[in-house]
Amino acid sequence: MLDYVLSALGHLIEPLNILLMLGGLTGGILLGALPGLTATMGVALMVPVTFAMDPISGLVMLGAIYAGAIYGGSNAACLIRTPGTPSSVATTFDGFPMCQAGKADEALYTALLASAFGGVVGTIFLLFMSAPLATFALKFGGPEIFWLCIFGLSTIAVMSRDNMLKGLLSGAFGLLVSTIGIDPNSGVPRFTCGFYPLAQGVEIIPAMIGLFSFSQVLVLLGSDRQFIAEYSPSKGAFGRVARKLLADCKVNLLRSSVLGTLIGMLPGAGGEIASIIAYNETKRWDDNPARFGTGVVEGVAASESANNGVIGGSLIPMLTLGIPGSAVAAVILGALLAHGIQPGFKIFTETGELAYTFILSQMVVNILMIPVGYLLAKVMAKILNIRLTLVAVAIVTLSVIGSYAIRNSMLDVWVVIVFGLIAFFGGLVGLDTGAMALGIILGPMVEENLGKCVHLAKAEGSLWNVFFTSPISLLLILFTLLSIATPFLLELRGKKKARRTAACMESRS
């Protein structure tokens, strides 16, 4: 291994590779920041370019784009409440309130440092624990992923503590929307109303753009504001954020990054779920969960470190087993195969130079991300100094182009508009867009894995055995129950605290 590491380091200081990493990062961040243009698309676009390159340089560049785009998604999430990639839905929860409170620079720097941290943690796992972790990831079958999704859905209960009924209804509405399209179990189209393009279902990204971005534009235009938010860059914000993360968020960052890595390993579950689960766990273990959603550094840090942790995680089964852990990893796998490189445990010996260069390049990329992201964040925050009317036009234009670009389909543009209107008018009666987004994202996975369980039950002889016997399933069920109970426990704790303070007051007086 050491030989390979040394020659890998040699490759990484080649000027061409450094240039490719910087270029990949910059391109990736910009791409991720534009609503509708995703990491998957960016990496896929560049795959043909790598055919003309040395495989090592090609992979290094693709990896840099991947990391950059996942971080870049947070820029749009913080500044215009639009998840630039589906992975940064949870970043909007606290990132945008921070921006509105005039702390846009702090939000961006938090996202940047948390992303870099998460990326490094994921890479460390990838470097040292690939083999055992890949074997562990295989233990997640239909029932386990089903429970993981249910656990994900249970976060609705914590998310919308003020009005759980509305939160649950919103989540259920999202689930219902996700059933449009071809039934994953019988293969026939549902709810297409005779309009065939609907057979492909409601694509997640346009739905998110509609729910978060388009509706937000309507809200902003309806207000009498001149700008999205007050923004005056404060001196030393970067240092302040770095110190704050070091002092208060060590556990949070570590927990979220590890969660991200673990969830990233599972085929089918990626950054969009990891960031939501990490956000929710951070909120649950916080002393004062009620402050989440009002613009706290911890919320942004949790979501962003988790979704960059996913990168290293998703590469683990891709390199060792040939099974990609995320859509982007699948595209990178395609590039590997096109270069005639076979994934497998042997990749670390037979093509060790390439494997270790790729892995170590991720480490370097995540460190380079800090200066590159810092400069770009300064530029992007300028959007807040532009008049709202102009920004609104730009956001809508980008949303429409971006959603069309996903699969060159006009249907997706309509999805943006319809979901934007649903979120805007629904918001007036208390529709919880976060919960609805969760339903849309998790719905197809719940359904698919439920179908698998039912089929497996035929062989097993009992549905009960399929659902309730594996230790991982039981653990996830326990987490789910805890998650559902959290709001009640918090309420209890709040009451106790209130009583105690009241008692204190009494004894004092």
């Binding site: 233990k139 997640f140 079958g141 994953p184 293969g187 698998k452």
Partner: protein
């Protein structure tokens, strides 16, 4: 006599001019970039294959391909885009069989196999029966015998439903009478993971897909007519006594109504690429089982497959009538 000769001469001259005109036409086609519609995501197997072809197309032709990705609904969105494109010779697309057979049959996809003018077939990716390395099953007959002796106990992972794998499973069921529990996966990645993790005991997968996890998967049989170049030691299902041939084929088509000369031009251009040794070497490197079939034969194959699949779906009650 003289007049007859004169007439013949005139006819011959006319024919010559016509031919010359046609030749001039064909020579000028294509005089602008050609749209290549791909029904799966960029970077996927279909895209990688088409990109390799493009390299060799560019060698002979000055006009490039413009890749257009129309993904969704298992390819149906892109296939129908090709079917309904303007048949002016500047829109062609990749298709997969049996997808283009099954989608209109069972999923109401808005196109049919009659909407295409077939250029050629380029890939024949046979289905295989595979198990994990440490499995007790050593041959295909072990698997099928177990499934017959223990109804519903054997789990078989398929990518589906209404896919080539699903149809192969129905075919196996019809021909061997086995009874197993089929589990549907969204893609080959999930399916491979399920096999390696032990969720299913057997998978019906494609050569291209199982090759990715070659270290941990044992292939018991290939559902092709002759052994596969990538797996020369693995016997075919026929060798093992089961008359089952099942595969996924990729080819290129133009919308029906394309000018006959243009179609002939495309068929010839693709034939040249498919027979280029450099192209064949690159395909092997990318793990793509190349198999060229000219357009007429490809079309005949698609039509035959339509009848077979239709009969199977009707037999298992998955299709009305």
């Amino acid at each position: 006599m003289r007049t007859r000769f004169g007439l013949m001469l005139a006819a011959a001259l006319a024919a010559c001019t016509l031919l010359a005109a046609a030749a001039a036409d064909a020579a000028s086609y294509p005089d602008k970039p050609v749209n290549m519609i791909i029904a799966f995501t960029a970077g996927g197997s279909s895209d990688v294959q088409a990109r390799i072809m493009q390299k060799y197309w560019n060698k002979n032709e000055p006009q490039p391909w413009v890749f257009i990705y129309k993904t969704g609904a298992g390819g149906a969105i892109g296939f129908s885009e090709t079917a309904h494109a303007k048949p002016d010779g500047y829109s062609i697309g990749g298709v997969n069989v049996p997808h283009i057979v099954l989608q209109p049959l069972a999923q109401h996809a808005p196109y049919s196999i009659d909407d295409f003018a077939y250029i050629c077939q380029v890939v024949n990716d046979p289905q295989v029966v595979a198990v994990r390395n440490d499995s007790e099953f050593k041959s295909v007959s072990d698997v099928f015998a177990y499934a017959k002796a223990n109804p519903d106990k054997l789990t078989i992972g398929l990518v589906g439903p209404m896919s080539g794998h699903h149809l192969m499973y129905l075919d196996v069921k019809a021909k061997t009478g086995l009874q197993a529990s089929e589990v549907m996966y969204k893609g080959a990645a999930d399916q491979n993971a399920a096999l390696l993790g032990g969720e299913v005991a057997v998978i019906f997968g494609n050569v291209n897909d199982v090759m990715r996890s070659r270290e941990m998967i044992r292939v018991l049989g290939v559902a092709s007519e002759k052994r596969c170049d990538f797996l020369p030691d693995v016997p075919t299902l026929r060798e093992q006594g089961y008359d089952i041939v099942s595969d996924i084929r990729r080819g290129f088509v133009a919308p029906k109504g394309i000018d006959a000369d243009e179609l002939a031009f495309l068929r010839e251009a693709f034939r040249k690429i498919a027979q280029d040794p450099g192209y064949q070497a690159e395909m092997r490197k990318a793990g793509q089982p190349a198999e060229y079939q000219p357009g007429e034969q490809f079309e005949a194959y698609v039509r035959k497959q339509y009848e077979i699949d239709r009969a199977l779906l009707v037999q298992f009650g998955l299709l009305k009538k």
